[in-house]
């Protein structure tokens, strides 16, 4: 478990049970279940069907953060889960409250982020009648959760919440939901909820088959061009130390996926940084030419693999994952190792008898680093380059500063030009690619790690999608720096139009957008405007020094594009370094 998690575990609590009042309603049992599980924060919005639950929260020590929109609540809870390692909690009322959570739930599901959503529902007797604010929340969310529960009884509703909490946390993490009809939460009960425990049908294999481990170890030892691909699962499993030990002992170069940023220090000589669509040239050369790929906690998403036919085509694959269904789902695993990432890396570490003979390969990787460095130009007569802002910010912050983002070009520049050294410092929307993730996720991240600096890089389009959550950051006095890399366009779309649609810029340029510094001030945050190179560091420092949320509206070069790029479905080994190479 993460050390940053400030959530006390139930067994650490020395508060004796007799301080707690016995539960009298289903709603109190729901809150008790959250308390027992160690929940410290709830993100949510009130409403009719969830009112009994909020009423029970009135007497609890759990902190409630009222968000401006339920989507914000779900992203804040998601980010809280990413940073703390424990399920983040969000509440919403029935109908529109629940449907507003859906984007955040789908996002958590794609990224295996631990989260539990509790939704109000119309009273049981009205369910199925199209009652006011009735939505089939379980039906809507079942495909995007580990499990969605419909609470049917005041005596067991607390057990449902306990189970959902445990399920969100254990094995491959992910979101769960409990739908709470109002009569069930209002109903009387004296039943204390059971301790958090996953259902007996849910089994998790933590240790990989020994014979397969030996076979995999032998394959790694005899490889000429081995490479490790570290995914988000390494971070979720708190296995970064085990990864470091394994990679450095056997001197195997390490690539990360995008969710894997922070799994291995990017300034280490074995690091090749991120592979995939906007990965580094050297990572993509290595992943294409390797003869043995050790994938750990990665699901081989198409933005990583590019076209499957040309993905690591000469490589045998050792695939370590806690979810057996990920093995051979997208890329066939020659050595399937189902288990906890840290545990299996230790098994491999012990099973290896020698390092692979890979001096030449490591040299080759170094050559690629020299050949294809991440690079950009900064002509003085052109507007600010976003990459420079990201790099400058990185230089002035500590290694444990947390970065959150929206989705688009700015997100890719943050991936590329920020040097990630520690786990749980990169908070982004990977699998779902949700614009609007940046502001609410920064709120969740800050509350999970109040002692760490939080910076959110956003695009003007993404920022506009959830800007209302600034009101929450101001109210809670959260010290967050928001940097809007403002190109007056939904830039990633504009880049694709220029590259793949003959420059026909349909609906991608904003003829008028708000002045974000003034907008910030209207919310009660500090606002800064950044237009010139000689103000970059000064403005960043001023925003950082401001005690509370600060927004930098950075007017960047609207023409700037993200490179390298592997076009969708393309060959990672044939990345483009500029538009004319597409």
């Amino acid at each position: 478990m993460s050390e940053r998690a400030s959530i006390p575990k139930p067994e650490d609590e020395d508060e004796s049970d007799d301080e707690q009042q016995p539960v009298t309603t289903g709603a109190q049992s729901v809150i008790r279940a959250l308390e027992n599980a160690g929940a410290e924060y709830v993100f949510g919005v009130q409403g009719g069907a969830i009112m009994p639950v909020y009423d029970a929260l009135y007497d609890s020590d759990i902190n409630h953060v009222t968000m401006a929109h339920e989507q914000g609540a779900s992203h804040a809870a998601d980010a809280f889960g990413i940073v703390s390692g424990e399920p983040g909690v969000c509440f919403a009322t029935s109908g529109p409250g629940a449907t507003n959570l859906v984007t955040g739930i789908a996002d958590a599901n794609m990224d295996s982020d631990p989260m539990i959503a509790l939704t109000g529902q119309v009273p049981t007797e009205f369910v199925g009648n199209d009652a006011f604010q009735e939505t089939d929340t379980v039906g809507v969310t079942q495909p995007i959760t580990k499990e969605s529960y419909f609470a049917s009884d005041s005596d067991t509703v607390g057990d449902d919440v306990s189970e959902a909490f445990a399920l969100a946390d254990e094995g491959r993490q992910g979101p769960t939901l409990v739908d709470l009809p109002k009569d069930v939460t209002k109903g009387e009960t004296d039943k204390e909820p059971k301790k958090p425990k996953t259902p007996e049908t849910y089994t998790v294999q933590t240790e990989a088959d020994e014979e397969m481990v030996d076979a995999a170890a032998e394959a790694i030892e005899s490889a000429d061009k081995p490479v490790i691909l570290a995914g988000g699962g390494v971070i979720k499993a708190d296995a970064t130390e085990e990864l470091f030990r394994f990679a450095t002992k056997y001197e195997i170069p390490v690539i990360t996926t995008m969710p894997g940023l922070g799994a291995f220090p990017e300034d280490h000589e074995l690091s090749l940084e991120m592979a995939g669509m906007h990965g580094t040239g050297y990572a993509n050369m290595a992943v294409t030419n390797t003869d043995l790929l050790v994938g750990v906690g990665t699901r081989f998403d198409d933005r990583l693999t590019g076209g499957v036919d040309s993905f690591a085509p000469d490589a045998e694959l050792v695939h370590v994952d806690i979810d057996p269904a990920e093995i051979s789902k997208n890329i066939y695993a020659d050595y399937p190792l189902v288990g906890d990432a840290g545990r299996v890396l230790d098994q491999l570490y012990d099973a290896m008898t020698a390092a692979p003979d890979a001096d030449e390969w490591r040299e080759q990787c170094q050559t690629w680093k020299d050949e294809y460095p991440l690079d950009y130009q900064m002509p003085e007569d052109e507007p600010l380059k976003p990459q420079h802002i990201v790099e400058t910010f990185d230089e002035v912050t500590d290694d444990d500063a947390i970065v959150t983002t929206g989705v688009g070009q700015h997100q890719m520049w943050a991936c590329q030009y920020w040097t990630f050294r520690e786990p749980r410092t990169w908070v982004s929307s990977h699998g779902l690619g949700t614009m609007g993730y940046g502001v609410p996720s920064a709120i969740g991240a800050k509350l999970a790690a109040p002692d760490q600096e939080v910076v959110s890089f956003d695009g003007d389009g993404s920022f506009l999608m959830t800007v209302q959550e600034l009101s929450v950051a101001v109210r809670e006095n959260l010290d967050i720096t928001f940097v809007v890399l403002n190109n007056e366009a939904i830039g990633m779309v504009r880049q694709w139009q220029d590259g793949f649609y003959e420059g026909r810029r349909m609906a991608s340029e904003y003829p008028w957008i708000p002045e974000f510094d003034k907008l910030a001030e209207a919310f009660g945050a500090a606002g800064f405007r950044l237009e010139d190179y000689d103000e970059v560091e000064e403005t960043i420092q001023a925003a950082r020094e401001y005690d509370g949320p600060a927004v930098i509206d950075a007017l960047i070069d609207p023409a700037e594009n993200v490179y390298p790029m592997v076009p969708s479905g393309g060959d990672n080994g044939l990345f483009a370094l500029s538009e004319d190479q597409l």
Partner: protein, 183 residues
Amino acid sequence: MRPEGRRNTQGIRIDPEAEATHEPRQAVLSALVKHKPGVLAEVSGLFSRRQFNIESLTVGPTTDDEMARMTILIEEPTPGVEQAKKQLQKLVPVISVTELEPEAIRRELAMIKVDGEKPDDINAVADMYGGQAVDACDETVTVEVTGSKQKVDAAIEAFSQFGIREIVRTGTAALERGAKDTQ
């Protein structure tokens, strides 16, 4: 430096010497599930959203009140069958999943409503397929046939001479042969 290999659409490296291609095959999956509301929707939703090619799905109670058994017939290449089994197993209300042996006993029931002009001929054909007439009126006769999918297909073909008005089929239920347990 350019690699020489390639992978097929299933992500499997293509070995030039023994090029492994996987043709779709029929597989019968048997799943024990918790007998509770919503399970059928969860399972059928899984198969549709992951684009598994499903031919039939039947569900019914077992000796244990708390459990139901689903029999699912799918047509997928082997990697798809494996993936379907693992995804199914991941659903929380699913207790166990097995793929039945090819020789497992498979049965389905069909009811066939035909024009009733030649009742004797209809009875004769029903006899041939071990079926029986279960309802008759002036206009129509309804026959029930049980057997393997192939047998039911053949019976329907044979009854078509009388003019079929309606058909209902249950889809395949299956159990392992001999003393072997299915789950």
